[in-house]
Amino acid sequence: MNKRWFGILSPVVLWLCFFMMVPMIAVVGVSFLSRDTVGNLVWTFNISNYTRFFDPLYLGIYWDTIWLSVLTTLLCLLLSYPLAYYITTAGPRTQKWMLIGVTVPFWINFLIRTYAWVLILRTQGLVNMGLEQLGMISEPMQLLYTKGAVLLGMVYTFIPYMVLPIYVSLEQMDKRQLEAASDLGASRWSAFWRVTLPQTKSGIMTGGVLVFVTTTGMFVITDILGGAKSQMLSNIIQNQFLSARDWPFGAALSVIFMISSLIIIWLFNRALRSKYESAKEARA
């Protein structure tokens, strides 16, 4: 057996094939099939699963999903960067505790955390009750089952995914550079803008991709906090596979979504990538 064949049969490749390629190929394959009235797959080639996507109903939901994911990513970034920055300025011990604080939500079941938001946001929830007690509103506001509630739930859930990579990239930066910047006449703000921020691009990129991709795939939060009105594409996909039993259409939606996510990530990457990153990688 020569080396090339050994490379192809290496555990990593086998692992990737089995857990990545096979399911993907299956999804793509199914997306070109048809189904009968009870939902069994019928082995005839069919492209209408894709044309059906261009129904304004689905396009609207698709657009909502992308928009919500972009918004979630941006909000996570805006909230996480100052937090991550603040953590890196603390002493090593305090840093450890603050990082544990950021990851604490992971220790609690995700469903429980999401339902906790229901308790806070519903008409008899904490927010409405509190505002009523203070006399700021006379009747409860509709907070739950809105797009705002979904956005809130998403941002809340995914902030740690953004904080940690940004923290890592900030932590790797040599802080003496900030003294050098100041020595060379830079104000704090311009030192941040020209020295710190460019060097944390990789953290922003990693966090951004993590948040964006997981948001697009998240249907539990939309189910619990968004109700029936704020459906996302992942809810539709889930419905196609589970309730509607239209696997081919569900698979087609998945494929479309996967490809468009890849394109968005690629664009995002390109926008943030600098010559420096390329030069650094060329060395590695």
Partner: protein
């Protein structure tokens, strides 16, 4: 003209004194070195001049203007950091341009200054490289170029050659010295390497435990040390105690003879160290419980053996009183 003046400058960290009140005047165009062991306060003084630390009390002036509490970005001086602190995401050129951009100089002038700085530091071929693509010595040159492009009134250098290997350090020492001469900028240089201080400086400030031990030209520091610390920190020295004083005699002033005579001290050769251009005799004195070192140069053709009895002699004018 006095470029920098420190008046009764004192610095405490958490109530603990790091720099005791001291005053210092630095002339325009001077190459002044703060020399001392680590923890002696030399870097703290440099950082106070740069503006990264503020004195607990005292005044620092630049060109006769009080700058004691001015932030670093408002001071017309630049610091070359010990570990370079280059911006890794910028090319050599962009690193040098940074300060010029901050000064909002016209683009044409930025261009000219970059060209001049890279020419002076011999970096012309490397302007498009990133710091990680450069060697340690090249990185240090970028740090220097980045500072001098601003044409500061004073250039501060914090052990700039500390991280480099010996040969490279020697080359850069010469280059730096020449650079200082051709630019005519005041240099304040911090180092713990006494040889480096000797070869580069116009004046040396010897520091120990937050205090100035002595200020003087390399020649004065070497030949007329005023304190025990100054006598032993710069070069080798033999220290002798008598009832009323403490004095030092440089090893090259100690003469050794094969003949032992009554009017000279005598001793036994304890060790011989051959160093090529010189050799050293380490002699156990008969009358004192101490060793003296004598340095002999290549002109000395006599033979010496360990255990040999020798006469030891020095002239009274070579004794330098360093304390009591």
């Amino acid at each position: 003209m006095i470029m920098i003046r420190l008046e009764n400058v004192e610095k405490h960290f958490a109530g603990h004194p790091v720099v005791h009140p001291l005053s210092l005047k630095i002339e325009e165009g001077e190459f002044l070195t703060l020399l001392g062991p680590s923890g002696c306060g030399k870097t703290t003084i440099l950082r106070m001049i740069a503006g990264f630390e503020h004195p607990t009390s005292g005044v620092i002036t630049l060109d006769n203007e009080d700058m004691t509490y001015l932030p670093p970005n408002k001071r017309d001086l630049n610091l070359v950091f010990q570990h370079y602190a280059l911006f890794p995401h910028m090319t050599v050129e962009q690193n040098i341009q940074f300060g010029l951009k901050m000064k909002k100089l016209p683009v044409k002038e930025q261009r000219e200054r970059i060209d001049e700085a890279v020419r002076l530091t011999q970096l012309s071929a490397l302007t498009k490289r990133y710091p990680h693509q450069l060697s340690g010595g090249q990185q240090q040159r970028v740090a220097i170029a980045r500072a001098i492009a601003n044409k500061p009134k004073v250039l501060l250098l914090d052990e700039p050659l500390g991280a480099l290997d010996l040969q490279l350090r020697k080359n850069l020492q010469t280059e730096l010295k020449q650079l200082q001469r051709s630019l005519g900028i005041t240099f304040i240089y911090v180092t713990h390497d006494q040889e480096e201080a000797m070869m580069m400086s116009d004046r040396i400030v010897i520091m120990n435990n937050g205090r100035i031990e002595q200020i003087g030209t390399p020649k004065v520091i070497y030949e007329r040390p005023e304190t025990l610390f100054a006598a032993t920190f710069v070069g080798e020295n033999n220290i002798f105690h008598t009832e009323d004083r403490l004095y030092a005699v440089r090893p090259e002033k100690i003469r050794v003879h094969h003949e032992v005579t009554a009017d000279h001290q005598s001793g036994i050769i304890h060790d011989i160290v051959y160093l090529g251009n010189i050799h050293k005799l380490i002699i156990q004195l008969d009358e004192e419980q101490s060793f003296v070192t004598s340095v002999l140069d290549f002109t000395d053709q006599r033979t010496w053996e360990i255990g040999q009895s020798v006469g030891v002699y020095w002239a009274p004018q070579d004794e330098v009183t360093v304390g009591r």
